[in-house]
Amino acid sequence: MTRLLTSQKFRRIAIQSTFVFLIAVFIISLVVTGQRNIAAQGIATGFGFLERTTGWPVNFSVIEISPRSTYALVLWAGLINTMLVGFLTLIFSTILGLILAFMRISSNTLMNFVGTAYVELFRNVPVILQVFFWYALLTHLPSPKQAYDLAGIGFLSNRGLMLAVPELSSTDWLTLLAALVAIMIGLFVTRGRGEARLKGLIAVGLIVVLFAVLLLTGRAPDTGLLSVPELKGLRFIGGMTLKPEFSALLIGLVLFGAAYIGEIIRGGLLSVDKGKLEAGVALGLSEFQTNRYVRIPLAFRAMLPSLSNQYVWLMKATTVGIAIGYPDYFAIVSTSINQAGQTMELIALLMGGFIVVNYSIGFLMNQINERIKLKGRS
């Protein structure tokens, strides 16, 4: 018997089996206790609740929802809200981060100073505090009656930023899409240089004119091209409203994210071997050309893993929106738990949603990484 205990093979199997057994026991006890507690509290189980109407309003949504929408639809709206704020944050903070990175590596001392001050300021204060700050600022703006007028096409008040937007029906959107596709096909078919390219560009120009005419003539009577917000009583009608909940969250996340992304980009740029840059200069490339053809491509490859990590983090950070009332996915789930009970199912949906979104970003970045990776002996 003791011989068995000291056998390596036996030990390996025994340890792993015990491990699996303990985990199974743990999970099963959780499930059993959970079921008992849920039954005792009279909460229903299952995902049937998704087809019930919610009965409560949501203050911001991209898709059309109302208190008469189903839970499934409202949860979906929440997920879209998260992705909306998330992807806009990623885009804007990357742009701002790029600017910051170049400012910080610039030889101009003042640029350097401003860049560094920015990064130190925005990195060392928690993101939720920053979001609270912007929200307080935006909600302390004057009321709609005394709103700031932005050249007639927009208004800024404590209800949000109202902007004029193009008034387009669904056929208009289809027309635009068709135009875009036509242009892309045209450019692709006539790719190359010289005369072929010129012909291609002329064709694209003709397509643009054709579709513009279609857009302008096929309109229903009395609808202009723009929907402009107008003050009617206490509120604004028309145009698009960017609510302070959305704006504050976006501003806070973008400014915070840019500080981190700026540092990642800067790290990537600095990590490019000086020798390669000197080679570029020695070959007669201008500083701009060296940057564009040597430094940036190499830096991009170096910074991709850190950048992808930061993107995933920023996506998760959108959950602080609940603190200021932005109905992101987490906020909707949390309200649903309050209203409908079904805690376990909703938490599962919550975690599932985030895992899917994050793995998608990670997967996408991995694909990009694989494609652009420097090939060679690893």
Binding site: T33, A136, L137, F330
Partner: protein, 359 residues
């Protein structure tokens, strides 16, 4: 005969220095002028607002809503709320002392002389233990103050330290598990780590506060605060485990073989060989993780804990100071800044020191 061009030389002197740093190219010059003006203007505005035109005492409060400067009177009025939360007024000296002890502990653990596998745990057990004893009281004439009343900065520090103390050992276990040669354990811990790293912190804390009571028998549920701290610690451990694992990987495999060949037991391999080197190699990343964790403690305000972020909002929320949100938020930002900036500076200093030679 070819022309001889002299080698490029660097000009010296203050004019040349200014040219290089501010006016190297024409667009540089434009930027310098614009930025220079911007910097001077904002600096001036900041000084006026924060100091020159500011109102410092509560007596002059009525000037606040009309004055152009900062209304720091709100800090004088609400400062204690922000720092100590709802802790009883007469006992706040205990809260202050406890916070100081924790800060001293943090500073001491940054000194290389304390860096041993034995000293650090002892230091933190003593420091944190004293903190809890002082805050809680209930002995030697100190009245009992339950954890529900702890708030403000002291609660922030409590959460931070709790997460760190619970999370570190767990991180070591997870790291060892992931690099185990037993495939089931390696994959299992890997899944666990990846799962926790892909979820938002808020989701995990929320689940701990709301879901755990449903899944676990009443007797072992613990208070909401302890559940949240444990969940936060697991989250921290998942990230820290990856850092430690990277540190262990950079320790050459040969050392493990040597230890095995010398007949050294597994626990000795881990405690004497792998961990000391792993921690030393990854100290900058660990400090970075600590900085992030400190900032993340602010998230618990959403779950309903009265830490410093919530106490700040409470200070504003009460009608009379509603417009002074900037001053309060700046005060909060300064508190965070002190800890966070301090820790990150220390981290950079460490990194430089390690790159140049022995830690």
């Amino acid at each position: 005969m070819t022309e001889v061009i002299g080698a490029p030389m660097r000009a010296t002197g203050p004019v040349a220095w200014a040219r290089r740093h501010f006016f190297a190219t024409w667009y540089d010059a434009i930027f310098s002028v614009i930025l220079g003006a911007l910097i001077i203007w904002s600096f001036n505005a900041l000084i006026s607002w924060a100091f020159l035109d500011a109102i410092w005492t509560v007596e002059n409060k009525d000037q606040c809503d009309h004055g152009a400067g900062a209304c720091w009177a709100v800090i004088q009025d609400r400062g204690r709320l922000i720092l100590f939360g709802l802790y009883p007024y007469e006992e706040q000296w205990r809260s202050t002392l406890a916070c100081l002890i924790v800060i001293v502990t943090m500073v001491l653990s940054c000194l290389p002389s304390f860096w041993s596998i034995r000293r650090i745990p002892i230091l933190w057990t003593v420091g944190f233990g004293l903190f809890i004893l002082l805050m809680r009281g209930g002995f030697a004439g100190l009245p009992l103050v339950r954890s529900e009343q702890w708030g403000g900065l002291s609660l922030t520090l409590f959460i931070f330290c709790g997460v760190f103390i619970l999370g570190m050992p767990l991180a070591v276990l997870l790291a060892l598990g992931r690099r185990s040669s037993l495939p089931v354990i390696a994959k299992g811990t890997g899944l666990f780590i990846d799962l926790f790293r892909s979820l938002p912190l808020l989701t995990i804390l929320f689940a701990a506060a709301v879901v755990v009571p449903l899944l676990v028998p009443e007797q072992i549920q613990g208070s909401k605060l302890s559940r949240v701290i444990i969940a936060f610690a697991v989250f921290f451990a998942a990230y820290q485990a990856e850092i430690i694992r990277a540190g262990m990987q950079s320790t050459s495999q040969g050392q493990e073989e040597a230890a095995v060949a010398l007949g050294m037991p597994y626990w000795s391999l881990v405690m004497d060989i792998l961990l000391p080197q792993a921690f030393r190699n990854t100290l900058p990343s660990t400090i970075n993780q600590a900085v992030i964790t400190f900032k993340e403690t602010s998230i618990v305000t959403i779950i309903g804990f009265f830490e410093v972020m919530a106490s700040g909002n409470a200070a504003i929320g009460s009608g009379e100071w509603g417009n002074q949100y900037v001053e309060v938020y700046v005060f909060l930002a300064l508190i965070y800044f002190v800890f966070v900036f301090g820790l990150s500076r220390y981290g950079s200093w460490l990194e430089t020191r390690m790159r140049l030679g022995h830690a």
